[in-house]
Structure formats: structure tokens, C-alpha cells
């Protein structure tokens, strides 16, 4: 992996770093009105080809917290653009023209975050070059089992890794069965073909032998001789008829390139910049499918009409630890039970699933039920007995520069965030004037609390249960029962870890990523609040706000992907090159970094 090698090769060293209060924070609320100034951003848009051909008619857009709205200009025939009259501030600059991939100033690659341009009053930031890479394309033909082209099939080009925020625009095969996805970023993709509405249809598939047997039997009924529509018999059939064997149930499950219905067996298509990859052909097949049917019950009375069911496939491989990827690969199926509580999911591909029922009713509050089940080629029967939601209780503690008045306490509110992507209703709870709060109606899941509607300046610093901070170690709330005694600490003291990244000649080095991570490896998990990455501005300045107190490592990297941050192996590689930093609770620490070997 070239990427990892690059990241590893650049070692960050530190200058002697005075610890003290950093300069005033940047940003602030956006100005209410358009401001004008005297700064200028100007440059050219070219192609990434070695010829660097100018790109005319590209749309170049700047956005900034110093502007009330974005501004867009069109490049001239020479690819040139200019924005004048800009107030001081931090600017993001993006150029786009299909079929090129949009380029952000300072981004290492298309799709990566760029570097903010820091402008002082009257500064002229000219000679910017934005290089546009041609988008890659994936194309192919989707055919049915008999080799006929399959029209109207929906194709999804699913990016692996989270570098591309968009799950992809669905496209359809044309009447020749052909599809073409273009404007793609380089990267790894899985291609999935789905027949629209296939889930709602189950098809009885008979063989020609079965049809022959049926026709023979119909002819043997004597008068009922099939002679075409007008000649059909009107008389009742003579004699008892043997029942025909039930037709096997087949369905069109989504098929992954190169031709598997098992998402874990899907081939990964690796695409280089601007590559035009043809021949990504897919053969559809009607496969034996199972079904999940059953009944939802509730001992408290009728099953509420708001009950919804979700069937989520259990994934293996990388998708097993990445809920976002798992959902992209196999979107969950949903259903609602009938008035008698019965439900049915048709066309379910054999495999392991988790079936969840949940409901919110005025009378009974949140109810839930779940079952893990294995679906084969038959119908799986399951009964889901709804149970009342679980409880979590606790009290809030306030650590502020200004004491919190009792009236203010009730302005705080907490919610629980499910961390594994399980389909749950996110519960929330107000803080009472005695500081206590009670979450009710929790359905099982892995939760971390979060602050809601806190008064300005206040944030949730920690939430301890039995000596464990749920903000760092989310809590499994399960059928085991209620949880009591959480202590949630709110504070209005703001920490900041900031600095400037310097390169050769002590000049700002904006072309890097700064990553901060906790020294404690047990906290290395997806979505961890202590793992963050930023791009420094063009002046080399970077800042992390409101990190909780603790020991951290800080590293500079020439290159990385956003998705790397969830990978413990990647983080481990940073450790030898990182600088340890201790951050006291609420402290402001300045830690300049200097690139070693320059």
C-alpha cells in the first residue's frame, strides 16, 4: 500500500514547544451581511496530465466563514479565474467541470479534504493552480441467466472505505443491458445489480418437465382439452386431479460483480485515476430464496400500529466492523406487521440476520424485540415478543467558570447515540432541577451519551458509569437490564490543542495532515472523540478544540485517507513518529511541529 508507506515515511519531530495559551481562536459565527475587502485569490485550472492543459468553463467556487454565501466564477479559455474584493478569512476553493472530478485547493487527491487559504487584509493569493483529474468510469453489460441483456436493472457502484461520502448515484442499464458509471474517484468499488421491486416479488419457477407433466394431467381430465382460448372447455374437470408439486420459490436477489449474490464474495474493482474500465459484466440469476415470517406479540395488549421491523444481514469481512459500509453493501429490509401482528419478509437471501422490532406508542412508550436467525431456502418462522424499553438513570454535574443556577440546570438535555448503526429510536432525557435524569424506552444497543440544546459554551466532557467514561467506551445496554448511576459532567471550560506546522526554513507547511490520538490504545475505536485529523491552513496553523484531558499523541502525515482513522493498525504506525502531549482538563496547549529532515 503506497499510501501507508507514504504516511509512515514522513516523521514529525517537534521544536521545543512552549506550553501556554494559544492565540485567539479562529472562526466565530458567520457575519450577518456580505463583507467586502481587499484580498484576492486568483489562479488557473488545468488538467492533471503532464501537459497541464487549461480547463475552460470550469466552475470555481469559494466558500468562507467571512462570506455570507459562496461565490462562483467561470474560467476563461486559458483556464484563468480570479476573485477580488475578499475580506480577511479562511477560504475553501473548489473547481469542477465534468467529466473531471472536483478538485479542492490543497487536496492530495480528488475527494480528499483541502487546505484552507488564510487571507489577511489586502493579501494577494495568486498563481493558484487547481489540477483537475479526469473521473474514472466503470462500464459493462448486465445479462440474464440465458445471456439476454437485462434492461432497467439498477446498478450501484459502492465505494469501499469512507473517503467518498456519497454512497453513489444509482444508475440503470439501458435497453442493451449496458451501464456506465463515470466521474468516479480512484479507489476500490463493489458493483451491485438490483432488479427494481424484486423484493416485493417472489416467483414460482417451474421446469419444462413440470409444465409437461401439468399439461399431460390437464389433457387427461378429458373434456378440459387445451385448444386455445376460444376452444377452452367450460365443463367441470372429470375425476380428481393430482396436486401439482408446488413450484420452488425463487427471487432476484441483488447480484454483485462478477456474479455472486453473497456480498462477502463480491469482487473489489480497483480503479486508477481517469481509468475507463470496461467489461465489468454481471450475470443475473434467479436464486432460491427463503423468507422470514412470523408474528409480533405484546403481552400488554394489541401490537401497536406503529411497530416496524428491520431485517439486517450479518456481515463478515471488513463490513463486519464498519456499519456504514455494511449498510451500503446490503441495505436493511423493512416491514410492518399487520393488525394481527403477522409479518413476512419475502425474497430473503440465505444467511444470518438480526430481526428487530420496535415501536413507540403513547400508551406503552418504547417497546422492542429482537431475534438472531439463520435463513435457509425455506420460510423461517419467528415470534417476537415485545418488551418494554430499558432505563438508564443518573445525575448531571456542572464544572464551570460561572456556577450554574438551578433555573439553568433544566436547560440541559442528554440523548443516547447508538454507535453500531443498529436501528433504534434515540432516546433523550431532560436534566431535572435536582440534576437528575432518567432515560426510558431504550432498546438494546451500544450507546454513548451526547449533549442536546446545552446553553451556549457548555459541552459534555464525561459520562461515567462504574468508573468508565461512556464517551470513550460506549456501553452495551442489553436484555441484561437497566443501568443506574451515570454521572454526566458538563463544563464551559474549553480546551484547545493548537500549533503551527513548520517545514524547511521554518516556513509554514500546509501540505500535511495533523492527527491527534489518545495514548491509551483501548480508546482506538471508530468514531472515537479523541481521534481527530485536520489540515493546517496555508499559514500552517492548526487547532483541535474541546479535547478532553489526557495523554495524547500528535503526528503530521504527508498523506492519509479519512477511513484510515478507524483502522488500529494504521494508528499503530503513527506511534513511533508521533509526539506525546499532555492536555489538562480545560487547558490550552500550543504545540508547534516541525517536519524532520528538512
Amino acid at each position: 500500500m503506497t499510501r501507508t508507506t507514504l504516511a509512515f515515511a514522513i516523521v514529525a519531530a517537534v521544536t521545543a514547544a512552549p506550553v501556554g495559551h494559544a492565540a485567539q481562536r479562529r472562526g466565530g459565527p458567520p457575519p450577518p451581511r456580505e463583507r467586502t475587502g481587499t484580498a484576492v485569490i486568483a489562479g488557473r485550472v488545468v488538467t492533471t496530465a503532464t501537459s497541464a492543459t487549461p480547463v475552460a468553463r470550469a466552475l470555481v467556487t469559494i466558500t468562507s466563514d467571512a462570506l455570507a454565501r459562496g461565490r462562483t466564477v467561470i474560467t476563461g479559455l486559458d483556464g484563468a479565474f480570479a476573485f477580488g474584493g475578499l475580506p480577511a478569512g479562511n477560504y475553501t476553493l473548489v473547481a469542477a467541470r465534468p467529466p473531471y472530478v472536483a478538485a479542492t485547493y490543497g487536496a492530495r487527491r480528488p475527494g480528499q479534504p483541502g487546505t484552507p487559504i488564510t487571507l489577511a487584509d489586502g493579501q494577494r493569493f495568486a498563481d493558484v493552480t487547481l489540477a483537475l483529474a479526469r473521473g474514472a468510469a466503470i462500464s459493462g453489460i448486465v445479462r440474464e441467466g440465458d445471456g439476454e441483456p437485462a434492461a432497467g436493472v439498477r446498478l450501484e457502484v459502492v465505494p469501499l472505505g469512507t473517503a467518498t461520502p456519497d454512497p453513489g448515484i444509482p444508475i440503470e442499464t439501458d435497453d442493451r443491458g449496458m451501464y456506465r458509471a463515470f466521474g468516479l474517484l480512484p479507489g476500490r468499488y463493489v458493483v451491485r445489480a438490483t432488479i427494481p421491486n424484486a423484493a416485493a416479488r417472489e416467483l414460482a419457477l417451474r421446469s419444462d418437465d413440470e409444465i409437461d407433466a401439468i399439461l399431460t394431467r390437464l389433457r387427461s381430465r378429458g373434456a378440459g382439452r387445451g385448444r386455445g382460448i376460444a376452444g377452452g372447455s367450460r365443463g367441470p374437470a372429470a375425476g380428481p386431479s393430482r396436486p401439482a408439486p408446488p413450484a420452488a420459490v425463487y427471487g432476484y436477489a441483488p447480484v454483485y460483480y462478477p456474479g455472486t449474490v453473497d456480498p462477502d464474495q463480491a469482487a473489489v474493482v480497483l480503479i486508477a485515476e481517469g481509468e475507463d474500465r470496461g467489461g465489468v459484466d454481471i450475470a443475473l440469476q434467479a436464486v432460491r430464496v427463503g423468507a422470514v415470517a412470523g408474528r409480533v406479540t405484546w403481552s400488554g395488549g394489541e401490537v401497536p400500529g406503529t411497530t416496524s421491523l428491520t431485517l439486517v444481514r450479518e456481515m463478515t469481512g471488513p463490513a463486519a466492523r464498519d456499519p456504514v459500509l455494511a449498510e451500503r453493501l446490503v441495505p436493511p429490509a423493512g416491514a410492518r406487521p399487520g393488525p394481527d401482528g403477522t409479518f413476512r419478509f419475502g425474497s430473503v437471501l440465505p444467511g444470518r440476520y438480526r430481526l428487530t422490532a420496535r415501536t413507540v406508542s403513547q400508551q406503552d412508550g418504547v417497546l422492542w424485540a429482537l431475534a438472531d436467525l439463520t435463513v435457509g431456502a425455506e420460510e423461517a418462522e419467528v415470534t417476537l415478543a415485545l418488551q418494554p424499553g430499558l432505563r438508564l438513570t443518573g445525575r448531571a454535574v456542572f464544572e464551570g467558570d460561572v456556577p450554574v443556577q438551578p433555573d439553568d440546570v433544566t436547560r440541559f438535555r442528554l440523548r443516547l447515540v447508538e454507535m453500531t448503526g443498529a436501528p433504534v429510536v434515540a432516546p433523550s432525557a431532560p436534566v431535572g432541577d435536582d440534576g437528575r435524569f432518567v432515560f426510558t424506552g431504550i432498546s438494546p444497543g451500544t450507546y454513548a451519551p451526547a449533549s442536546m440544546f446545552a446553553p451556549p459554551g457548555w459541552w459534555l466532557r464525561s459520562a461515567f458509569v462504574s468508573g468508565r467514561d461512556l464517551l470513550d467506551y460506549p456501553l452495551d445496554i442489553g436484555p441484561a437490564g437497566d443501568v443506574n448511576g451515570m454521572v454526566a459532567t458538563f463544563t464551559n471550560r474549553h480546551s484547545e490543542l493548537s500549533g503551527t506546522l513548520l517545514g524547511a526554513g521554518a516556513r509554514p507547511a500546509p501540505d500535511y495532515f495533523i492527527v491527534v490520538l489518545p495514548a491509551e490504545r483501548a480508546m482506538w475505536r471508530p468514531g472515537a472523540r479523541r481521534i481527530q485529523a485536520v489540515r493546517p491552513g496555508t499559514d500552517g496553523h492548526f487547532a483541535f478544540a474541546n479535547l478532553p484531558g489526557g495523554d495524547y499523541l500528535i503526528a503530521a502525515l504527508a498523506d492519509m485517507e479519512v477511513s484510515d482513522l478507524v483502522d488500529p493498525a494504521f494508528l499503530e504506525q503513527l506511534v513511533p513518529a508521533a509526539v506525546p502531549v499532555h492536555l489538562d482538563e480545560g487547558a490550552r496547549v500550543a504545540q508547534d511541529l516541525r517536519i524532520a529532515g528538512r
Binding site: V73, A137, A151, D175, I211, P236, A244, A335
Partner: protein, 664 residues
Amino acid sequence: MPALLLTALAVAFTASPGARQARVVVPSAPPPDARPASGTGAITGVVLDASTGRPLANATVQLETTPPGGKRQLFLQITTPTGRFAFIDLPASDGYLLTATKPGYLDGGHGRRDPRGPAAPLALTDGQWIGDVRVTLGRPGSIAGTVVDETGQPVVGAYVRVMPRVMLAGRAEWFIGGAARTDDRGAYRIAGLGPGRYVVTVPSVQATLAASATPPAPGASAGTSMSDLRAASAADRAVRQLVDAGDGQQLVAGRYAVPPPPGPDGRRMAYPIVFYPNVATPADATPIDLEPGESRQGIDFQLRPVATARVAGVLQGPAEAIAGQIVRLLSVGLQELGEGSEVATAVSLTDGRFTFLDVPDGRYVVEVRHAYAELAISTLGDPSTAVPVPLRFPAHRAMSMNVSAAPPGVHLAALQDDAEASFWGRQSIVVSGRDVDDVVVALTGGATLSGRIEWAPGTPTTSVSLVLEPADARRSLGVLGGRTSGGARGARGSRGIDTFEFRGLMAGEYILRLMFGGEARVESITWQGHDYAERPFDASDGHDITDVVVRLASGTSTIAGTVTEGAAPLAAGAAVIAFPADPGRWSNYGFNPAGLRSVLTTPDGRFRIDGLPAGDYLLVGVPSEEERAWLDPEYLAARAGRATPVRLDDLASTREGVMLRIVR
């Protein structure tokens, strides 16, 4: 009321190709009875390619019936490698509909002539076996080509749209058909087309937005976390890209081809709407006559920018009527084509001023309206007919309905601003090489049509919804919903007597029609002593029409009988057309005439027509392929003499045993 299949849509036609996938997919169709009643009948047959006669494997065959008072039953099968299917153990029914679909083919069905048209019913008795049913599927046609700019570079993401030529209410009209976007090579392909005449167009709408009306864009800041950066990069693409055009005006960019910079004379450039082969109007276009299954290649476009002018003016009228209006600039001759066919759009400022930038030379109508409708004909797989509308009509109400007075597959989308907003205005202008800065569009409130609803004794009262349809099916008049005394939208009446009011009738003739009403049917519509059920109100002089009485009653009429071939029974079915005896009602009847109806018979000629209003009718049995021929008044005139008169005395009349000889 089977002729008025009407669905209120929460949002009309806003689905975009980039719409995000829903997180949880819930099948939207109500599941049919999963364990259908069993019986002793059987239907077997084969699915064939219409052109080659080859059996088609893997076609989905659907057999459907809804027994009287029962639940819809649905049976599905995939054809075998030899194209065969066999449904057995079927309950008896006189209304089985057998249809077949296969990707890459137009839909087919037993007795179906048009892929979007009705299938003929099959009657099955206990123990009966209907064998050798042959269903043929035709290949759809397609139109394909490329779009390049004046330098020969491919234009990526350009919208290309077909406009089918369709008979509507006795006139041939251009409709909105399927649309496609060019790919990274500039190539497009519009597939799923039935046979017929088409023109192909590359739309181009210049949308101007005053800077003072611009919504704010998300800002960027340094030192944000990676997740924020991720969100920001997604937001970057969602930013409404507004290019500063001077004088406080901005153009919405990126939806249509980006034009080159201004020429040496400083005039701004734009790509105008163009029709194949690179002409400005559909009248000058070369129509493409598509044969069944034909794949027409090489319908190529080269977009050429033209110098443009600025068109500015002011709306005149009450303060609340002139502010914040969508003002549209339409080419003369293209006013009926709806959203996405404008040359330019703008939003008026609070004082009524508006500016269109980048307007090519031409003859135009500047228009403000509060309602309009557009007609579209669906293509295979129902691809989107939508092209982007940078400044969208502020539809407070949207509805979509099937249109019976058109070939199968035609549907109508009607949009209406707030029912209180009723002002409209039009002004013709000519742009010829210079800016036009003095356009005045006077807005008028239009006429009002109002009245009350009466319920016949014994009629269960319910919510009803009335609409006004333009009698001559001119979409630009819109399809109006009104308001009631209770303030509810859509001219609903709830109990006993209620009142209704439609505001802002533009100059023209309108038919008042019941859209929703449960079991209620229109018994009469009376104004100034005359019956206006199925007779148009004339709002041309702008005078209000008041004290209209709509009388509702319950009951469903039935006409049933048999079509024969001379004295012999039919072999392969026919169609039955019911039409009013009064020739004055054979045209000018809006989109869904209540008194004109056609059905297909069973193979042996049995038919049933439900829900015709009271009146004198003529019934004629005709070959199946003439099922919609009643759209042509001359066709009806030629058959009236050989038709069978049938009188329905009231809404609940039943006439059974009507015998019709097929008229060829």
C-alpha cells in the same frame, strides 16, 4: 369512478436522478393475498418475442383477478426455457388479467394492443382449462446520439429529451417524453420508446436570481475536524452555484451547459434550447418516425453559443401579487410544454421588478401564472421525464392524474400555487440584438367560479374534491382546485350543503368535474337554469360565475352485454365504445370526459361498463385496436349511425344483455 384515476402527490415530479437511497426499503405496494383461494381452473400458455416469434424465457407472467367484493389475488410465474407458463388450481373468475413483463421488452398482456393499454379480461369457470394463451412482447425503440459543443468537445451531463407527437382531444400535440443525460463521452440514449413520431431537444434554461434573493451558503473554516471536512466536501457539491453577472444579478450555473465567456463586443453568450437537427423550434425540427423496436442512432447535436440580451421589466398589480413571483420567459409556440422548456426564469423582487439574463434573440411570452399543468407519456421502465428546473414553481398543491382522452400511458401533472394566489399575466416581447428594459406585465386576478354542493336524499355525505379542467385540454390554463367555505383546499364539501370557489380562472373554457367523492357521483351541475355537467363554462370575458349548484348522488350505473361477429360469437375479443348521443359532447371535454368510455371484451365478446352518468348513449363494438379511436370526433360520427342507443335514466340504472354486432 374508474375513469378518473386520481392520485394526490405530496411532491410532484421532483424525483431527481441523484436522489439518495432510503435507509430502509419498505415495499410500497400492498401485498396481495399471500395464500390465494384455490380452485380447479387452469390457464397455460407461452410468451413470445413479437418480432421473431421466439419463445421468451425468464419473462415474469402475472395473473390477477379481483373477485366482486373480494381481495385482489395475484399469481406470478417465470417462464421456462421454452417460454411456457402454467397456472393451475385457479378459482373461477370472469375477470382474469394476464400480463407479462421482461426487462428489455415493452409490457405485454393477453389482448393488449398497446404496452401501456389495457389487457383484455379472461373468464374462467370451475374446472375450465384455458390453454395455448400466447402473449407477445415487443422490443422498445430507442434514440441515441451525442452532444458536443462548438469546439467539438463532448458536453457532459447535458439533458436530452424526446417529445412524442400525441393526439389529445382530437388535436396532435407535442408532449413531454423521456429524458436522459449525456455521459462522460457526451453520449446519450433514450430507450423504452414505443413506435411513433418524436422530436428530440436539448433544453437550456437561463435562470437569473437577484443577489438580494440568494440563500446563504455554508461557510468554511480552518481547524475543523475531519468529519466536518467530510461534511463540507459534500456541501460543496450541494452549494447552489451562482455566477455573479453584475448589476446585483446572478445566474444559476451548472445545470445546463456552461457557456463561453462574452464575445469581443462584450455581449454575454448562452446556449439556446435546440431541437434536432440544431434548429430553434419543434416546427422546424426533423421528426423521427420510430418503427416498433427501432434503435435510431446518430441523433447528434452540436451546441452553438449565441450572443444574448437582457430582458428586464416590472410586474404590475397589488403588492402581494407582484413580489417573489416566478417569472417565465417562453418561446412563442412552446408555451404548452411546461417546466424545463423555458428559455429563462427569474424571481421578481418585492417591487415587482424582474430581470432575465442571457436571452437569445427571438419572439417570447413573459408569463406569471398561479397554476399550470403538463402532460407526459411514460416510457418503458418509467424513466424520469424531469429536467432540472433551477427556479421551481412554488407548487402548494400538486396532483397527478391519468388522462382518458389520450392514448394509454398519458398522465397529467397539475401544479397550483396557494389557492389564495390567483393573479396571472402575459406579455409578448421580441428580442433582437439589444437589451429590452421596459417590459410591463399587468397581473389580473382572473374570474371566480363559485357555488354550492347539494346532496341527494340518502346519499352518504363525504369529503369531495372538485376540479376545473380546461375544456380544450390546453395545459397552460392549468387544472384548478378551489377552496370551500371551510377553508379546506380542493373544493371539498364535508356535510350537507357546502360551498366551493375557484379563483383566478384565466381566459378560456372550463369543465367542472368531481375528482374525489367516495361513492358520490355528479347528478347534475346547474347554472342559470342550464345543465353544465360535461358542458364548459366560458370564462373568456373575465366575469365571475356564481351560484353554480353541483348536485351529488350515489349509485353506479352498469351496461353489460355481448359483442358478436354478425350472428356468430367472437373469436378473439373486441372493444366497446360508449359515447354520448349528443355530438356536441364528442369534443371540448377536458382531460377525462365522464360520458366517453371504452373497454375490451373477453375473448368471446362479453363486456361490462360501470359508472357512466345518466343520459342517452350510443354503444358500438369495434376491433380491439380501435379502443381509443373515440378520441377522433369524426370516427364517432362515422359510427353513430350503426351504434346501439342505450338510455341510463339515473346514476343507478342497469342495462344488461345489450347485444352489439362488431362494426368494422
